[in-house]
Amino acid sequence: MGVISALGLDQQQFWQALARGESGIGPIPNDIGPVAEMGMNQVRFKNGAPVLGYDADTYFSRKTLSFMDRFAQFSVIAAREAVSMAGVEWTDELRESAAIITGSCMGGRFTEEIGYWELFHHGRHRVHPLTIPLGMSNAGASHISMEFGLHGPAYTISTACSSSAHAIGNALWMVRSGAAPLAIAGGSEAPLFLGGLKAWEAMRVVSPDTCRPFSANRSGMILGEGAAMLVIEPLERALARGVKPLAEIVGFGMSADACHVTQPSAEGAARAMRGALRDGRLAPEQIGYINAHGTATEANDRMEAAAIHDVFGVHTAALPVSSTKSMHGHTLGAAGAIEAVATILALRNGVLPPTANYTEADPECELDVIPNQSRVVQAEAALSQSFAFGGLNAVLAFRAWH
């Protein structure tokens, strides 16, 4: 697994912050790409979960960088860490057949915006000739394929905030069915540019200060950026080559609300959760942790609490649920993957990450949200949940590996 986020540039930093309940939320700096010139002072909210201390030149050559939007850079950085950690040894055969499935909601719109800025603000008559290849949402998958010389199936899924959960779920099914012997799957997002921030501002769902999921005084979501990638392979194959799996990915459930483009439905969420349990052959009582979608918007948190009660019934009282978005922000198309990594690390380390910034219980979100401090608990299995605008839901189930 590899991850780059507001909590640090690698997995170790990510877990350290999660286990300590430290939040990466703070002011969005002006120097992320073209934002400086455009001016963050135009945006009503000031805070986000930006990747700080990131110097692209230490990861890529200048020439390579000229072909990569920020989101594609994050994809490759996370994939490099994942492949290195998994100790993958590329043979010709594996290069021919390994799959790459990435998720992204906005793709390279950061780059597109620079083009629009030139056209509409500076009144210029042309944009950069690489605007199209930098802007395309599949650029992450393409750059990963070129990084490792992989010639097998590679594609990108864009289902808003469920994108990378759908990507990982599809990778699970490809590997399980034998369609691919190994998959690199995850997601990436770099949404902290002026036009994107203004669009979120207009929806009135962004917090003026911080992200307090399930807390009665929550004030909305915090936008984050980053990427996470997993290496997924059959258990027997991993054991045969002598590596210790981080966790077993056992179930994937998806559903469509088919009711409203922004108002989520507990019924739709619950169907995806039940689907993941069924696919993973898990009884509800076996689930010892849920990494919630937990955006800290009123619409999501109450719906999600209702869905958890619906699926888990009396077991809900003994089921810790946290939203790590309180620390790494809502990374949209990368959220499913970053949160899958958080879930896997929770199972691997026997420590459940908390819901940070939690200050006030909400009677309509009656859950054990692991408030503010991580908890030493070895869960047997866990869910990671993603519920997207457009009503498209994806839930992944993992089992601890010992």
Partner: protein, 90 residues
């Protein structure tokens, strides 16, 4: 005589919500007009343009009726025309 603030608010609601103007009354509820939370945000956006005002998120969240929309817009328009009054009432 120019259109009153109330009449302008009702017109914006009817146009944005795509419903006949005569259906939109100051005492209509959101439910009666089929206005959900996203519709409400759309209407507030159009009201901001119509009156050249800025409605804060925390105020927007509290609005549940047409009457509150009219009162809120009236307050913001008055405040814009007479900035000292806004300071006094805050």
């Amino acid at each position: 005589m120019s259109e009153t603030i109330q009449a302008r608010v009702l017109r914006v609601i009817a146009t944005t919500q795509r419903i006949p103007l005569e259906k939109v009354k100051p005492d209509s509820t959101f439910e009666e007009l089929g206005i959900d939370s996203m519709d409400s945000i759309n209407i507030l956006f159009d009201l901001e343009s119509e009156f050249d005002i800025e409605i804060k998120d925390e105020d927007a969240k509290k609005i549940r009726t047409i009457r509150e929309m009219i009162d809120g817009v009236t307050y913001l328009v008055d405040s814009k025309q007479n900035p000292s009054a806004q300071t006094a009432t805050e």
